[in-house]
Amino acid sequence: MTAHHVTAALAQSIPVLEPATPAILVTPRPHDAVKGVTLNIRGLRKAFGSNQVLRGVDLRIPPGQFVAIVGRSGCGKSTLLRLIAGLDAYDGGSLEFEQDPASASVNVRVMFQEPRLLPWARVLSNVEVGLGAARKEHDASARAKAALAEVGLTDKVAQWPGVLSGGQKQRVALARALVSNPQVLAFDEPLGALDALTRITMQQLLERVWRDQGFTAILVTHDVAEAIALADRVIVLEEGRISLDLAIDLPRPRQRGSAEIAALEGEILDKLLG
């Protein structure tokens, strides 16, 4: 286990708690210092048995950037994301979070395609799970409610997850990830199972909470248009390495189907298919 893993493991058991009120979750605010974490990946390698999945990934993500990762199915996008989230151990290279002060632990959260809600817990208590050790504190339910308000689900607080739609379940999962005020939020095809219309609404929601909260966002998606609509930067993963790193300098909110977006989409698809 490498140094990063120790920090990442720590980060997951002891989320960073800020001396702030739950109001931070509903009102936009300047990105504060605690979110200022740079992710620095160098020569990262990971194999499953003889299957070399990541063969030296180099990637530096400055604080608060929105990065999208695209690539063919099976190219190792999920693997990379799980390493960043500290869910798996890597074989070689390095993966570090750099911040000031360096001693603080880094709070990294992941959202998957499956919402992974506890079916036997009401929506509110599912969100409270996201508070980690702080879920036993007296303000836990207030913070969870604020996070649910942030994703627009105030009226579903007392529901069972089983009665929610796919999009609503993902919003609960998002609230659970947001409630601990993470510095890095990784998404593994979070909208992959949703219908086209819900996807668009959810993309807008993701963009809004990212702008409000200022975390670093790392989004794995198979939808190139989605990547361009949301990200500051699109990365193509190919044969275990980064084969394209493209900055998307378009003003937000971005117009779907504009000529610039179409041109960028063409460029990325050429890379993916060629």
Binding site: I14, V129, V163
Partner: protein, 268 residues
């Protein structure tokens, strides 16, 4: 019929009053036809006495206190045997579901024992315990043990690993992970085991009481057979049916209370 099933049968438990009434129409009709046929002399009394005769026999035994006494004895045996077998089965199911070591040590042995029908143990049990209380309790406990053990183990094994990963990544460990993720996830399967076990509990008790007992409903039936009291025999069978139905209703109620989150129990 397999002893493990992933989920409770999908069914609606929201019977409105009218539906509840509908389900009683058939038993009532059978009762009326039976009574009429007996009164008209179509069914010989030696084969099947009229429902009214069975009711009278029940009233007679109730007044002598014999009925209550025998029901109590059978009930006590069922509950005690169930508690012993269920507790051991549940504990071993938990242990083997959570610990690979515990499973390696015990599971193979348990799977071998499982292949012996527990009623085949009756001659041995009589040799060991005679027709003592211990004999009945042993058989009931043994019969109840396996469905509870297997379904608890199965339930724990099949808890969604993604949920466990989720719980861990949000800092849940040990007891909390068990309480909030593993146990609730295993509960539907545990209930399947519970209901199988209740069926086996009555079956075992009936066999054990008719073969080796000096009290209880099974014994009452066997004694009545010797004196050709068909009405008491029928009464005993009906009491078993009612007790079985009662146990099933209680387990359904428990299921409905604890699995209210489950889609098949939800009101919309």
């Amino acid at each position: 019929m397999s002893l493990t099933e992933a989920l409770p049968r999908v069914r609606s438990l929201r019977l409105p009053k009218a539906d509840a009434f509908i389900s009683w129409i058939l038993p009532l009709t059978i009762l009326i036809v039976w009574q009429t046929a007996s009164a008209a002399g179509f069914i010989p009394e030696r084969v099947l006495p009229a429902p009214s005769d069975v009711a009278i026999a029940g009233w007679r035994l109730l007044q002598t206190g014999e009925l209550a006494q025998n029901i109590w004895v059978s009930f006590w045996r069922a509950v005690t045997g169930f508690a012993i077998g269920g507790t051991i089965g549940f504990s071993l199911g938990l242990a083997n579901g959570l610990s690979r070591l515990s499973e390696r040590v015990t599971d193979t042995t348990l799977q071998m024992v499982r292949n012996v029908p527990h009623l085949a143990m009756i001659p041995l049990v009589i040799l060991w315990f005679g027709i003592d209380e211990a004999a009945k309790l042993f058989l009931v406990a043994l019969g109840v043990f396996f469905p509870i053990y297997l379904n608890t183990l199965h339930g724990i094994r099949t808890v969604d690993p993604q949920l466990i990963e989720m719980g861990r990544s949000y800092g849940m460990t040990g007891g909390e992970l068990f309480r909030r993720v593993i146990f609730p996830g295993a509960l539907p399967s545990i209930f399947v085991g519970l209901r199988f076990a209740l069926g086996i509990m009555w079956l075992t008790l009936i066999v054990a009481e008719t073969i080796a007992a000096s009290s209880g409903i099974g014994y009452m039936a066997m004694q009545a057979r010797e004196f050709m009291l068909v009405d008491v025999v029928i009464l005993s069978i009906l009491i078993y049916a009612l007790l079985g139905k009662l146990a099933d209703s209680i387990s359904r109620l428990l299921e409905r209370l604890t699995l209210s989150w489950h889609p098949s129990f939800q009101k919309h």
